[in-house]
């Protein structure tokens, strides 16, 4: 069997194991909560808001019905079964099934992270590569200074300053996902939401103006979101670049008269990119996590709304658990794709991982 295929199968087999570990941990943390608090997770549709019912009685009934006094593994397996059947619980905060609420907000988050990643990977690799190609040059020093500040500034301050300058001041990039009139067009009968990604749907519906407007609304959130990760990726690329440029094969490439540009961008960068991709895989979770700040500041109605709302209003454990499981489902594919990309770029890694 080719090594790449073997690696692919191994990597995909690891996915259920990861899900198992995470959900077990989540439910384990929840087990720390008092019994009555845990009962909230199983609130029936409509919740305890019915005035004819005593919430205390409902809770006692849930504890009896769902046998919440059972040992942890039994309860966990039962809860997992509910998740797999698609019954993620009814959120009192959103007054709907939490899975429905999450799915409705997914396209916005996917669009946002997708554009942010598309922006940050090339910019990070090119800027890091440029800085590393001439160590201690002017580009290098500028790069390091900007990267330091980018990792050190609190994201919400950066987002608010950008919003102040480019929206309130210059009126270039408004917050939200679309303007109100465009929102009515998109939700209207003449507009088919093929993918939910507005930039794409606009084109598919022959409304390029919608796509353009959606892009305009995406500029600031994308810049804020990619800033921190750009710095991490760029610094990693720079470091690897410096290391690669001192290796023998680069000396050989230069010695045989290869153009410097080719040496740097074809030979050294190719090898420098592998650990750089790894650094992005490590931060895939925090990329999704960083989304919540961006979504709050720019009023971007994505998945984080589910947990941020439940933090502001009454405690809503259904929304929180739903969000936790769902965000793992969002992060996992990104990590798997990045791992596969690494294996494609690095035959050595592929072989060792396939043999393990």
């Amino acid at each position: 069997m080719p090594a790449l295929l073997k690696f692919l199968i191994r990597r995909l087999l690891a996915v259920p194991a990861t899900l198992l570990i995470i959900t077990a941990t989540l439910y384990g943390i929840l087990m720390l909560a008092p019994l009555e608090m845990r009962a909230e997770l199983y609130m029936p549709r409509g919740g305890s808001n019915n005035p004819n019912h005593n919430p205390e009685l409902i809770r006692q009934q849930i504890i009896r019905e769902h046998r919440l006094n059972d040992p942890y593994p039994v309860q966990y397996v039962r809860w997992m079964g509910r998740l797999l059947r698609g019954d993620w619980g009814w959120s009192p905060g959103f007054r709907e099934d939490v899975l429905t609420a999450l799915l409705a907000r997914t396209p916005a988050t996917i669009e946002l992270t997708l554009y942010a990643i598309l922006l940050l990977i090339p910019v990070g690799i090119i800027s890091g590569g440029l800085a590393g190609a001439k160590e201690h040059g002017a580009v290098d020093h500028t790069f390091r200074a900007v990267a330091f500040v980018a990792t050190a500034i609190p994201p919400f301050v950066l987002a608010l300053v950008l919003l102040g300058i480019f929206y309130a001041g210059l009126q270039w990039f408004p917050p939200g996902r679309l303007s109100i009139s465009e929102h009515y067009i998109v939700t209207g009968a003449d507009f088919t939401p093929y993918t939910g990604l507005l930039t794409l749907d606009g084109l598919l519906n022959d409304r390029p103006d919608i796509s353009l407007s959606a892009l305009r609304h995406l500029v600031l959130p994308c810049i804020t979101l990619s800033m921190v990760h750009w710095a991490t990726l760029g610094r990693m690329t720079r470091a690897m670049m410096i290391e690669e440029l001192h290796k023998d094969y680069v000396i050989v490439a230069r010695g045989k008269g290869l153009k410097e540009r080719l040496v740097i961008w074809r030979h050294a960068l190719h090898n420098a990119m592998i650990p750089a991709l790894n650094s992005i895989a490590l931060s895939a979770a925090s990329l999704i996590m960083g989304v919540f700040v961006v979504e709050v500041v720019f009023g971007f109605p994505g998945v984080s709304e589910v947990i941020v709302n439940s933090m502001r209003g009454a405690p809503d454990i259904v929304a929180a658990m739903g969000f936790a499981v769902y965000s793992v489902l969002l992060v996992l594919p990104v990590m798997v794709i990045l791992d596969i990309l690494q294996a494609v770029f690095d035959p050595r890694l592929r072989d060792t991982l396939a043999e393990q």
Binding site: A14, A17, T18, I21, I22, T25, L26, I29, L30, L32, A33, P34, E36, M37, F148, V149, T151, A152, I153, P154, P155, F156, V157, L160, V161, L163, G164, I165, A168, G169, L170, Q171, M236, A239, I242, E243, L282, A284, A285, I288, M289, F292, V293, V296, S304, I307, S310, M311, R312, P315, I317, A320, M321, F323, A324, S327, V328, V331, M335, Q356
Partner: protein, 310 residues
Amino acid sequence: MRITRRLFTNWQSLLALCIIAGYVIVAISAPWIAPQADPQHPVTMRRLPGVRPTALRVPRPPQPGAILGTTPGGWDIAYALVWGTRPALHFGLITALLTACIGVLVGAFSGYLEGAVGRVLMRVTDAFLTFPAIAGIYLFRYALLSLNTDAPPPFWQVVLQKLQLNPIMLVLIAFSWMPYARLIHANFTTLKHAEYALAAKTTGAPPLLIIFRHLLPNAITPAIVLAARDIGGMVLLEATFTFIGMGAGLPWGALLVTSRDWIIGPGGNPLIYWWVFVPATLVLIVFSIGWNLLGDGLNSALNPRSRERM
């Protein structure tokens, strides 16, 4: 001592040490820089004295009594910045060091032990990498809530109180150790086949001795570097969590969050009310850059062959 010399001859590391020393000096001398009104009940944030509360809704510019002005609500910015240094250092150091310890231990054991145990540990590490810390914080907060206040708190809450560990700290530690584990794991898998490790093994040294005496000192450099950077990073992360009301109550983040509505100044000019966020942001940025530079300096000092990484 070669390491110390290398650290002190590099201007970047010197700058880093100066910055950190500056923060430590401010932290120690806080009672003299910004005297407490009531030394019996020290507070890390204070309101401007002698002004009516309604007059405090708009942030006040720098003035005598509050040299960096106030945030909306009348909180004295300079005072909170000075008194915020102690909790920031405390929070950053404890969280980063505990995180590093857990990560290093997991990485060392998973790297040294072959077979199922090692593989399971690495799987757990990878799984935790996908975990959203924000949900973890929420769940812990939720578990701390109690409908029935008369009931005795569960034993784990008592343990937390005894250790004076903030739940936010605990969550940050629980969900940040994975990069350390991966770094140490990678180093261990190559180092354990080195001749000196094999030699130790053939002389009958127990595994724990090999791990801690022979392998760890050779593998730990990247973890030290990462920990230095994380000290700044943890404080920054706390500020971000404060933004959605889930912070540990450090004054620096609290200042920025109280002023959030004024960062977008009138007419989109953030500079009109600059004092509500520029000083606090600068204090945070310089703090973080100091620890980052120290990490870089430690890296080239501890590890001269790999030239300066990152």
